[in-house]
Amino acid sequence: MPETLIFYLLSGLAILTSALVIGQRNPMYSVMLLIASFGALAGLYVTLDAPFVAVAQIIIYAGAIMVLFLFVVMLLNAPHEDGAEWDRAHPLRQPGVGRFGALLALLLVVQLAWALLRTGSVDVPVTGAVDAETISSVRLVGRTLFTDYVFAFEATSILILVAMVGAVVLAHREGDRG
């Protein structure tokens, strides 16, 4: 019973935040709400016994990709508060863009409906011989990472270090050091 409650809570949160994302004037708020939406989705993955997917969702989507989004938003200096100007110049006000968006949304609905109808007719249970524990267990992922792929894992640290050094070399101000 509590699982059902959590499911509705997280689903409601995901839907609510997603709806709010497209309703914001300030793109910075949109980005923040999108992070909340991703977080709610990650919670849903946990309830589905897929902790690895949940963690990957947070690290990759809510972490790396959203940081990239934030950078783009800040670089474009978009969050200006002039509401009327924003409304007039907003790309979604262009009729062509609006129609294209509507078309995409319609396609998505059709695709989802088709997928749902198909799932109804497939009677093989999704969890077959392998149980959830073996498919996506943090322990197994960790063990593989630190045995078969341990060298690749350690070598990645050099890669990240080189990237950091490179970024500092290219970005630092002249005359920082004598």
Binding site: A155, V162, V169
Partner: protein, 479 residues
């Protein structure tokens, strides 16, 4: 001697530690104090060379993915030579151009770590990580002169196209993993040996994507577009480093992946590589003739040399495989020395890399003109230099494997390329017009590096047998 499961990573560990030491020394020095960071780097590289020599014939494997077979060790030692020469040529350049000293050497050393990883990896994932370590360091080195718009543009182009090609390569790895269920080269080879092309067309997709990734790094036609711009824009010594080190590492990984894991499908990839080799040799030579900038000319020459190396890969007999290794070493020393001369003749505000700047060099700098002549003759493949032996060996491998067409095209393009190398020589000696450029005084360290590389070029050109035997021995043990 003490043996452990870490043996195979010792050479790259030496260089990585040297890079960290360089960064640490530079970070904690007090203002105005100078640190011998170049010397630290050379110590690390010598450590790598010594450990490689100790590991010779031992076939050490670490973590299951790093193999120190003789092939990897031969390439590692080639990379050590590239690294030491680069550091020696850089020491006057870094001072002259006011480059961030610690960062510059640390990036060179880290890049060499990535190259060594590529040369000795037995796993596609590790090859990819090595490739990225190498590439990211080289992107930054290309644009390290931020006051030079040409360098910034070159770095940006190189970075964007390089990231694009990395994606191709990664996609190829993903497809291979999807088919074989592993990224280890030996297991992929075993899986593919049991397959035939009609079983799974996706193998061709994986093969093609990996081929594009490698072809970009060795700047084979038609994936060479970035090369002239990146080579021209980067500081001369960085160009020398990336045209030799990057090419050697990428070729080593290329040869290992295609001659071990994808060997069962050589009937599929050999014709494609045949065409790439022909296009690369012809384009590199023909377009190279028309260049007026020396760095740009050497960029096209480096494309053409990639084509000759591909001939060895297509021939893929015992002679061909050994010829690749020998040619990599020969080309690395020669090309680095040529770029070293350009680097030593440049100044902070004038690169002095146009062809006309070299008119009458014989009168103002006779020693440098003489040394440059030896480099250019070796690049053109004239005896008694190492370039002649390398080319002769590659083409005889092609003939031995029955690829007469490749050998003929190779010889013809070499003859054409001699024309543009000799054009520089003629300019240096026979021009009577007074020199218009003022060359800086040449540093002792740079001169020492230059003389050392010329000695290697001539010594290997006259007595190549010991190194040829080493190359043949190192290839025989694995493929």
């Amino acid at each position: 001697m003490f043996h452990s499961s870490f043996d195979a990573v010792v050479p790259m560990l030496c260089v990585a530690l040297a890079a960290l030491a360089v960064m640490g020394a530079e970070a904690f020095r007090s203002r105005g104090e100078t640190m011998p960071v170049g010397g630290l780097g050379i110590v690390g590289l010598i450590g790598a060379a010594v450990s490689s020599a100790l590991l010779w014939n031992r076939n050490a494997i670490s973590f299951g993915v790093i193999v120190a077979d003789n092939f990897a060790l031969f390439v590692t030692i080639t990379l050590v030579i590239v690294g030491i020469l680069t550091i020696m040529f850089s020491s006057p350049v870094v001072k002259r151009d006011g480059l961030p000293k610690g960062d510059f050497y640390a990036l060179i050393l880290f890049s060499i770590v990535g190259m060594m990883m590529m040369a000795s990896a037995n796993d596609l994932l590790v090859i990819f990580i090595g490739l990225e370590i190498m590439s990211i360091a080289v992107y930054v080195l290309t644009g390290i002169r931020r006051d030079d718009p040409r360098a910034t543009e070159a770095a940006f182009k190189y970075f964007l196209l390089g990231a694009f090609s990395s994606a191709f390569f990664l996609y190829g790895i993903a497809f291979t993993y999807g088919l074989a269920g592993t990224t280890r080269l030996d297991r992929i080879g075993a899986f593919l040996a049991a397959q035939s092309m009609s079983d799974n067309r996706l193998i061709l997709v994986a093969l093609g994507l990996l081929l594009v990734g490698f072809a970009f790094k060795i700047s084979a036609v038609p994936f060479h577009m970035w090369t002239p711009d990146a080579y021209e824009g980067a500081p001369a010594i960085v160009t020398g480093f990336m045209s030799t080190g990057v090419k050697a590492a990428a070729f080593a990984a290329f040869a290992r992946v295609f001659l071990s894991a994808f060997e069962p499908f050589s009937g599929e990839w050999a014709p494609i590589v045949w065409w790439i080799a022909v296009a690369t040799m012809i384009l590199g030579t023909v377009v190279g003739v028309a260049q007026s900038n020396l760095k740009r000319m050497l960029a096209y020459s480096s494309i053409a040399h990639g084509g000759y190396l591909l001939v060895g890969l297509v021939a893929a007999n015992q002679v061909g495989k050994a010829a690749i290794l020998f040619y990599l070493l020969a080309y690395a020393v020669t090309n680095l020395a040529a770029f070293g001369v350009i680097a030593l003749l440049g100044t902070k505000n004038a690169a002095n890399d146009e062809l006309r700047d070299y008119a009458g060099l014989w009168h103002s700098r006779p020693a440098l003109a003489g040394l440059m002549t030896v480099c250019l003759l070796s690049l053109g493949g004239l005896p008694p230099t190492v370039g002649f032996i390398g080319k002769w060996y590659i083409f005889s491998a092609a003939v031995g494997a029955g690829y007469y067409g490749l050998a003929i095209i190779g010889v013809l393009t070499s003859v054409i390329s001699v024309f543009f190398y000799l054009r520089v020589v003629v300019m240096m000696y026979m021009s009577d017009q007074p020199a218009t450029v003022v060359f800086p005084p040449v540093s002792t360290v740079g001169m020492a590096a230059l003389v050392a590389s010329i000695v290697v070029i001539l010594a290997l050109g006259i007595l190549p047998t010991p190194v040829l035997n080493l190359a043949a021995e190192s290839i025989a043990t694995i493929f």
